[in-house]
C-alpha cells in the first residue's frame, strides 16, 4: 500500500533575488512498512523533502498524495488533522518541551485526540517503555542524556500509533553508539509494530542498517538503493538496544 507519493514535485525558495531550486522534478513513493533513509550532502534537499512528506511545506509544482489523497488542496486545519493522525515526527535536536517530564512530552500529541487522561497516561507510559525509558518517566529533558532524549522523541512520535514516522537527522546530535542504538530501535519498532520510517541522514555508517536508501543531489533524486544488512549487524544492533 502506497503511503506517500511524489509526482514531479518541485520546490523553489526565493532567497533575496536568487531563486534556489531545493527539489527538482522528484518522483518518489513510500510504501507501508518501509524503512527509508534519505541521504545526500548538505543542501541536497533532504530536509525539504521531509518537510514536504510531512505536509509542513507545500511544493512549488507537482503533486503529493498521502494515502492516495492530494494534500496541496487541503486547508490549514485539515493539514493539522492529517499530521496529528498520520505522522510522528522526530527532530534532529530532540525538541522536547523542557518544562514537561519525559512522560508528559510523550503524552503531548495525545492531547489532540479525544482520550481520557488515564488512557493518555497509559499509552504514553507504554510508548516510553517501548523505547526502554519506563523508569525515566518523571525525568525532565535536562535530566536525560542526548540518546535518552532522542528515544523520548521517538516514543512521542510513536505514541499516536502513526502510519509514518519522519525523522530529520535523528542521529546528528548523538555519538556513534547512541546513533546505532537509535537506528536499531527504530528498525525493531518498524518490524514489531509495522510502522513506516522515513529519515534523513548523511552518516554513511547508518545506511548499512536500512533497507532502502534514497540519495539526493542538488535537489534531484540520483539513486534509490535497496540494502540487505547482515544477520550479525542486525544481532549487534538488537543487543545494543536491549
Amino acid at each position: 500500500m502506497i503511503l506517500i507519493e511524489f509526482e514531479s514535485v518541485t520546490k523553489h525558495y526565493q532567497l533575496g533575488e536568487i531563486e534556489v531550486i531545493a527539489l527538482d522534478n522528484v518522483n518518489f513513493t513510500v510504501r507501508r512498512g518501509d524503512f527509508v533513509a534519505i541521504t545526500g550532502p548538505s543542501g541536497s534537499g533532504k530536509t525539504t523533502m521531509l518537510n514536504l512528506i510531512g505536509c509542513l511545506d507545500s511544493p512549488t509544482s507537482g503533486e503529493i498524495r498521502v494515502l492516495g489523497q492530494p494534500v496541496t488542496c487541503l486547508d490549514e486545519k485539515a493539514l493539522d488533522t492529517l499530521r496529528s493522525r498520520t505522522y510522528g515526527i522526530v527532530f534532529q535536536s530532540f525538541n522536547l518541551v523542557p518544562v514537561l517530564t519525559a512522560l508528559e512530552n510523550v503524552a503531548l500529541p495525545l492531547h489532540l485526540h479525544s482520550l481520557k487522561s488515564s488512557e493518555i497516561r497509559e499509552r504514553a507510559l507504554a510508548a516510553l517503555c517501548s523505547v526502554g525509558l519506563g523508569r525515566f518517566a518523571d525525568f525532565r529533558p535536562d535530566q536525560l542524556s542526548g540518546g535518552q532524549r532522542q528515544r523520548v522523541a521517538v516514543a512521542r512520535a510513536l505514541v499516536t500509533k502513526p502510519k509514518l514516522i519522519l525523522a530529520d537527522e535523528p542521529t546528528a546530535s548523538l555519538d556513534t553508539a547512541s546513533a546505532l542504538s537509535l537506528v536499531e530501535l527504530m528498525k525493531q519498532l518498524s518490524a514489531e509494530q509495522g510502522v513506516t520510517f522515513v529519515f534523513s541522514t548523511h552518516d554513511q555508517r547508518l545506511l548499512q542498517h536500512v533497507r532502502r536508501v534514497v540519495e539526493l543531489r542538488d535537489g534531484s533524486l540520483s539513486t534509490i538503493r535497496e540494502i540487505q544488512p547482515s544477520a550479525e549487524q542486525q544481532q549487534a544492533g538488537q543487543s545494543e538496544v536491549a
Partner: protein, 674 residues
Amino acid sequence: MWSMALRNLYRDRRRTLTTVIAVGAGIFAVLMFLGYIRFVENSLAAIVIYRDANAHVQVYRVDGPEQLAATPAKYSLDRQEQALIHQSARGLAHFVRASDQLVGVGVVQGDEGSAVFLGRGIEPEFEAALQAESPLDFAPSVMDEHGLLLTRQLQDLLGYPAPGAVLQLFSASYANRMNAIEATFSGDFSTGIEAIEDKGLKAPLSLLQSLYDTDAVSRVVVQLDDRAHAGAFRDQLAAELQRRAPGRFEVTTWDYPQIGQLYSSFMGFFNMVFAFTGSVIFAIALTTIQHTVAMNVADRAREIGMLRAMGFGRGRIAGLFVRESLLTTLAAALAASGLAYLVIFALPYTHIETQLPRIAEPARLTLGLPLGWTLSAIVLAGLGIALGALITARKRVGGKVRPGRRGMPLIQLLATASCLVLAITLLPATPVRAETAISEAAAVADVPEEATLRQWLRQADLARGGWGSYQWTLRIHTEDPAGATDTTYAIAVHEGRALAKTTAPRRYRGEKILIASRAMWYAKPGLRKPVSISPQQRLVGEAANGDIAATQYARDYSPEYLGTVQLNGVDCHKLKLTATTSDATYESIIYYLDIRTRLGIKAEFLTASGMPFKVAHFEYGNRVLVDGEQRAFVSSMKIVNANFPERFSLLEYARVAPASPSDSLFSLDTLMTL
C-alpha cells in the same frame, strides 16, 4: 495545557515577575482610582441629596425643570396638586418623608449693597431631618423660621451683613406685580453650582411664598430610605401620578442633570479622567503582555514548530500563550487587589484629609472598593489582555517566527499623541472673519446735529410725561402664559420726578414707587424702609417698573441718527439711543420718531448684545392744555416681549391733567408715610 503554561511561566520566572509587577502596578492604580471615584461619587451624591436638600425624587409640573425659571407661575404646583403628590408618594415603598420647595429670583438688599438672588424656599424641619440622615459629615443648615441663608459670594456682594441683620428681598410676584419682604440673615450655605454661587439664597418656604405672593410651590421632593431605590420609586410614582392626573406631572431623581448639576459635572469629569487614565494604564499593561508574548514566541520557536508539526493548530498554540497571559494577569491582579485592600484598610488610620468640591471643610479620605467592582475591573483587564495576547500569539505563531519587533508601540503611541497635541497647540487659530457692521447711517445723506436730535427727544419725552408737571391714572393690563393681571396706579410727575401709587386691586393699595432723578424706590405697608430698585430690577415684568412712570430719553441716552424709515405708512426718523449712565433702564433703544409730529411711535429695547427683547408701540390720543396750548399726550403704550409675543403689557393713560404737586410728595423721607 494550563499546567504547561504554568510551568513555562515558572521557567521564565524573571520575565514573568517583571510582567506581573508591571501589570500589577497598573491594576493597583486602577483599583485605587476606582476607590477614589467611589468616594467622590458617594460624597457628591450626599451633597446633592442631603446638603442641597434635593432629596431622592422630585415632582414637577410637566416641563417644569426646564420652564420654571422662565415662567414660574405657569409651571408651579398648586395646593391641590401638592396634596395629590404627597398622597401618592406616601403610599409607595421606601418613602421616608416629602416636602414642598419653591425657587425664584429677585433682588436682595442690605445696608451696604444689593444683588440679584436665585432663591430656594425650603421647609426648615424637613431640611434638618434630611441632613441628620446624611452619610457625609458637613455643617448643617442653621435656617430658622424667618432666617435667610446666603452664599459667601452673595454675602460679599452685600458687604458681608452681620448675622441677624435685616435684609430686603424684592421681586415680581407670581401675578407680575412688584413685591418686597424683609427677613433676617442667618448664615452660610453653598449652592454647589459655580455659575449661580454668587446668587445663592435659601429661605424658609413660607417666607419665599410671601415674596412671590403665592401658595404654589415649584416642586415636591421625596426622601427615600436608600438612594438605590430612586429609579424604581420615580417610575412607580410617575405611574401613579399619571393614573391620577394624566400628563400633568414630571418626576425626576436626584441625578437628573438640572438637579444634580454638581454631581453630573464632577462625575462627568471624573469619569472622563478615569476613562483616559484607565485606557493609558490598560494600554501599558496590554503592551507589556504583548511584548512578553512576542518574546516568548521568539524564544520558543522550536517548541512551536514541533507542536505545529505534531498537528497542533495555530489556535491551540496561541491558546497556550493566552493561558500564560491570563495566569500572569491573575497573579498581578491578586497581588494588586491584596495591596489595594491593604491600603484601603490602612487609610483611615493615616487621617489623610481631602478637599471635596463645594465642601468648605476637608473630608477624611476613606476609600471603599466593593468586591464586585474589583472583580469587574480584573475580569475586564483579563479579557482585554487575553484578547491582545491571542491576537499577538496567533499572528506570531502563524507567520514567520522572528525576534520581537524593535520599537515600542506604546512609546510610538505616546509620541504620536504628543505630536498631535503639539500640532494642535501650535496651529495658528483660524482667523475669525469679523462681521462687517452695516451702518445705515452711511446711507443717510443729511444727518441732523446732535443738538437737534436731543431737542426731538425732549419733545417726545414731554408727550410721555417725562418733563413738566402732570398727573394721570395708569392702568396696566399684563398677559402671559400664567394668566392676566390688571393694576391701576395714580401717577404724579414733576420735573423729572415721579410717584406711582397703586390704587387697585384693593389688596395692593398703599404700594408706591418713587422715581427721583435716576433713582427708584419701592415701598409698601409693613416694610421698615423703602427698597431701592436697581436698574436691572426696573426690568421686572413685561412693563418694566421703569416704564410705569415717564422716562427721559433726552437726559439718559445719547442719540445717533440712523436715517428715515416708514412704519405703517408713517415716515419716521430712526434713532439709536445709547445709555449714557448705568442707571438707565435699558442699555440701548432703537427709537422711531414721527417726522411730522416728532412723537415717538415705536421703541425697540435692546439687550447688551444688541438683540431686541421688548418692543413698545405708542399712541397719543390724550390732549393736555399747557400754557394755553393743546398738546398731544400719550394714551397707550403696548409693550410686547420680542421673543414671546404672547407676553405683553398694555399701559393705558387716562385723566391726564397738568398739576402742581409739592416737592415733599417726591421725597424719600416721606415715602413711607404718604
